[in-house]
C-alpha cells in the first residue's frame, strides 16, 4: 500500500521528491557528431511518455540513454545525468541491474531463436531464478500480462520464430516484463506491424501503465496522441517541446512543433 502511494507521487529521498526518471542537461556524441543537446526531461511513474520527431532527431538515441544501451555503440559518449528514482544511472549503478529495472522493447521484434518458454525464462534465469516451478509461474504471468497467454499457452515449446510479427512483439514485451522491471522503454514497437497488431500493442500499453512507467518512441503522431500522457518533441537533437499530450498537440508553444504536427515536414 505504501509502495503504491510512492509510485503515485514519485520517489522520495530525504525531503526531495523525484520523478521516475529525471534527465538533466544530457549531451550525447557519436564521434564528433552531437546527437543530443542539453536535454532536460522528467518522466513520471505510471504514465506513458511519448517521444516524437522526424527520423534522426535523436529520440531513439535518447531512449537508449535511459537503460544505457548506447554504451555498446562504439564512439558514443554521454555527459550529464539521468536519475532513476533519484540515483544516477551513470553513477555507480550496475548496468545489468539497471537494465533489469528498465526493460526495453525494440523496433523489430527480436525473439531469440528458441522456444516461447525459453524466451520468457531467459531473463529470470539470467538473474538467478533456477526453480522450474518458479519459472513456470513467471512465464505464465508474464504472458498473461502481455495478453498473449491464451494464444500461446499450447505452443510454449514451439520456436518463437514461427509466430506472427505482432505475436513476436507481444512475446518480446512479455519477455521484458518477466524480469519485473519498473520501467518499459519501447522503441517504435509497432513500426513493423500491421494495424490490428498495432492496436493490440497500444491497448496493452494502456493496460501496463497501471503498473509500469512507459516511455515510447513513435513515428506515428496519432499513436502518440492516442496513448500517451506526456509528449516530447525532438528536433536535431534538441528537446523542442515537452508537456501534457493534449497541450502539445492542441496548442503547441513552439512554431516548429506546430509545423511538425500539422505535417509540414517530417
Amino acid at each position: 500500500m505504501i509502495n503504491n502511494d510512492l509510485k503515485q507521487i514519485g520517489y522520495t529521498r530525504g525531503d526531495k521528491v523525484f520523478p521516475k526518471f529525471r534527465v538533466k542537461d544530457l549531451d550525447l556524441f557519436y564521434g564528433n557528431f552531437q546527437a543530443l543537446k542539453s536535454v532536460d526531461m522528467d518522466m513520471e511513474a505510471n504514465e506513458i511518455t511519448a517521444l516524437i520527431g522526424p527520423s534522426g532527431c535523436g529520440k531513439s538515441t535518447f531512449l537508449k540513454t535511459l537503460n544505457r544501451m548506447n554504451d555498446i555503440v562504439p564512439g558514443c559518449r554521454v555527459s550529464g545525468s539521468v536519475l532513476l528514482d533519484g540515483t544516477d544511472v551513470y553513477g555507480g549503478m550496475d548496468v545489468n541491474l539497471l537494465r533489469k529495472r528498465v526493460g526495453m522493447v525494440f523496433q523489430k521484434p527480436n525473439p531469440f531463436p528458441s522456444s516461447v518458454y525459453d524466451n520468457i525464462a531467459y531473463g529470470p534465469k539470467t538473474h538467478g531464478v533456477r526453480k522450474k516451478s518458479e519459472l513456470d509461474d513467471i512465464v505464465e504471468s508474464s504472458l498473461r500480462q502481455a495478453a498473449i497467454w491464451d494464444e500461446l499457452k499450447d505452443r510454449l515449446k514451439k520456436s518463437a520464430l514461427g509466430l506472427s510479427g505482432g505475436q513476436q512483439q507481444r512475446l518480446c514485451i512479455a519477455r521484458a516484463l518477466a524480469v519485473r522491471p519498473d520501467v518499459l522503454l519501447m522503441d517504435e514497437p509497432t513500426s513493423a506491424l500491421d494495424p490490428i497488431s498495432t492496436g493490440k500493442i497500444e491497448e496493452l500499453a494502456q493496460e501496463l501503465k497501471k503498473e509500469y512507467t512507459i516511455v515510447i518512441v513513435t513515428h506515428n503522431m496519432q499513436q502518440a496522441a492516442r496513448i500517451s500522457d506526456k509528449t516530447g518533441f525532438f528536433l536535431l537533437g534538441e528537446l523542442i517541446e515537452f508537456g501534457a499530450t493534449d497541450e502539445v498537440f492542441d496548442s503547441p508553444r513552439d512554431k516548429r512543433t506546430e509545423d511538425y504536427i500539422t505535417g509540414r515536414f517530417g
Binding site: D27, F29, N32, D71, R77, S79, G80, V95, N96
Partner: protein, 311 residues
C-alpha cells in the same frame, strides 16, 4: 556571426574525457568499475578468463611453432640446399621445388577450366532447386571431404597401376587435379555470386547474349575472386603429402618427362625426416615450405581483398 560559431562548433572535437561544457563523459566505465561489475557476475568472470586464456594459448601455439621452426631451420638454410641437382651430400631441395611447381601448375591447368565452367553452370544457368545441381553440389562437397590418403589410393590404383604403369608426375598431377576441383569450384562460385545482378542486367539490356555476358562481364568482374581461389588451390597442392607419396613417388630429381617419378617439397621433407639422419635439413625445408604456403595464401588474401573493395 551566428554561422561562424556554428562552424566553430562543428569543427570542435570534444576531447575524449569531457564534452563541450567541460563536463566528463560518464558512459564508459573505468577499468576498476568494470572489474567490480565482473565480481558481481561470477559466470561472466569465468567466461572472460577462459576466453582470454584461449586467445593467449592460441597466440602462444602459433608463436611457438613458427619461432621453433625458424630457430631450428634458419641456421641450416645453406646455399647447398638450393643447388640444382640433388645428391646425398647437399640434400638439395631444388628438384623437389621444381617438381612441386610442375605438379601444381599442371594440376591447375586441368582443374581450373573444369571448376570454373562448373561454377558458371551452377550460378548462371540453373536455379538452386534443380535436381542435377543438387547432385553436383553433393558430389563437390563429398570430394572436398575425402581424405588425401584416399585420393592417394585412388590415384595409385587408376593412374599408377592401370594407366601409366609406375609412379609418375602425371599420376600426381591428375590426382591433384581431382583433389582441388571442389576448391576451385567453390571459390569461383562465391566470386560469381558476388557480382551484382545489375552488371548482368546492364549487359542484357545492351543486347548481349548470355554467353557474351558471361565472358565479357561476369567472369572479368569475378576474376580476382577466381584468381584468389586458384592461388589457394596451388597452396593446397604445395602442402599435400599423403596423396602424392603413392602417385608421383619419392625420386629426388626432376624427371625427363611427365611419365617419370619425382617428389614434391612436402614429400622431400617427409623422406628427410623419416630417415632421421637429416634433422637440420628437414627443419630448413620446413621453413621453405611454410614460407611458400604463407606467401601463396597471403597473395590469395591480397587479391580477394582487392576484389571485395571493388563493390
Amino acid at each position: 556571426m551566428r554561422s561562424a560559431t556554428a562552424v566553430i562548433k562543428q569543427k570542435f572535437t570534444p576531447p575524449p574525457s569531457c564534452d563541450l561544457k567541460g563536463r566528463p563523459f560518464v558512459n564508459k566505465p573505468s577499468l576498476r568499475k568494470k572489474l567490480a561489475e565482473y565480481k558481481r557476475h561470477p559466470f561472466s568472470l569465468v567466461m572472460l578468463a577462459l576466453v582470454i586464456l584461449s586467445a593467449l594459448i592460441t597466440a602462444a601455439i602459433v608463436l611457438w611453432i613458427v619461432i621453433h621452426v625458424i630457430i631450428q631451420g634458419a641456421p641450416n638454410l645453406k646455399a647447398s640446399l638450393f643447388e640444382l641437382e640433388y645428391d646425398s651430400e647437399n640434400l638439395s631441395l631444388m628438384p623437389a621445388f621444381f617438381n612441386t611447381l610442375i605438379i601444381a601448375g599442371m594440376a591447375l591447368i586441368i582443374a581450373v577450366p573444369i571448376g570454373v565452367a562448373a561454377a558458371v553452370f551452377l550460378t548462371e544457368y540453373t536455379s538452386s532447386t534443380n535436381k542435377f545441381v543438387a547432385v553436383v553440389r553433393m558430389a563437390a562437397e563429398t570430394l572436398a571431404g575425402i581424405p588425401s590418403i584416399v585420393y592417394g589410393i585412388f590415384g595409385m590404383i587408376l593412374f599408377v597401376e592401370m594407366l601409366f604403369k609406375g609412379f609418375s608426375l602425371i599420376a600426381g598431377i591428375l590426382t591433384m587435379a581431382i583433389m582441388i576441383l571442389p576448391l576451385v569450384m567453390r571459390t569461383t562460385e562465391e566470386a560469381l555470386r558476388a557480382v551484382p545482378d545489375t552488371f548482368r542486367e546492364g549487359s542484357f539490356a545492351l543486347g548481349a547474349g548470355k554467353l557474351r555476358t558471361i565472358f565479357r562481364v561476369v567472369l572479368p568482374s569475378a576474376m580476382p575472386g577466381i584468381i584468389a581461389g586458384v592461388i589457394l588451390a596451388f597452396g593446397r597442392v604445395v602442402g599435400e603429402t599423403a596423396a602424392l607419396i603413392y602417385t608421383s613417388g619419392t625420386v629426388k630429381a626432376v624427371p625427363d618427362s611427365l611419365l617419370g617419378s619425382g617428389e614434391t617439397l612436402a614429400i622431400h621433407m617427409y623422406t628427410l625426416s623419416s630417415e632421421g639422419l637429416h634433422v637440420n635439413e628437414a627443419w630448413a625445408t620446413a621453413i621453405v615450405l611454410i614460407l611458400l604456403v604463407l606467401v601463396i595464401n597471403g597473395a590469395a588474401e591480397f587479391v580477394s581483398n582487392k576484389f571485395r573493395k571493388k563493390y
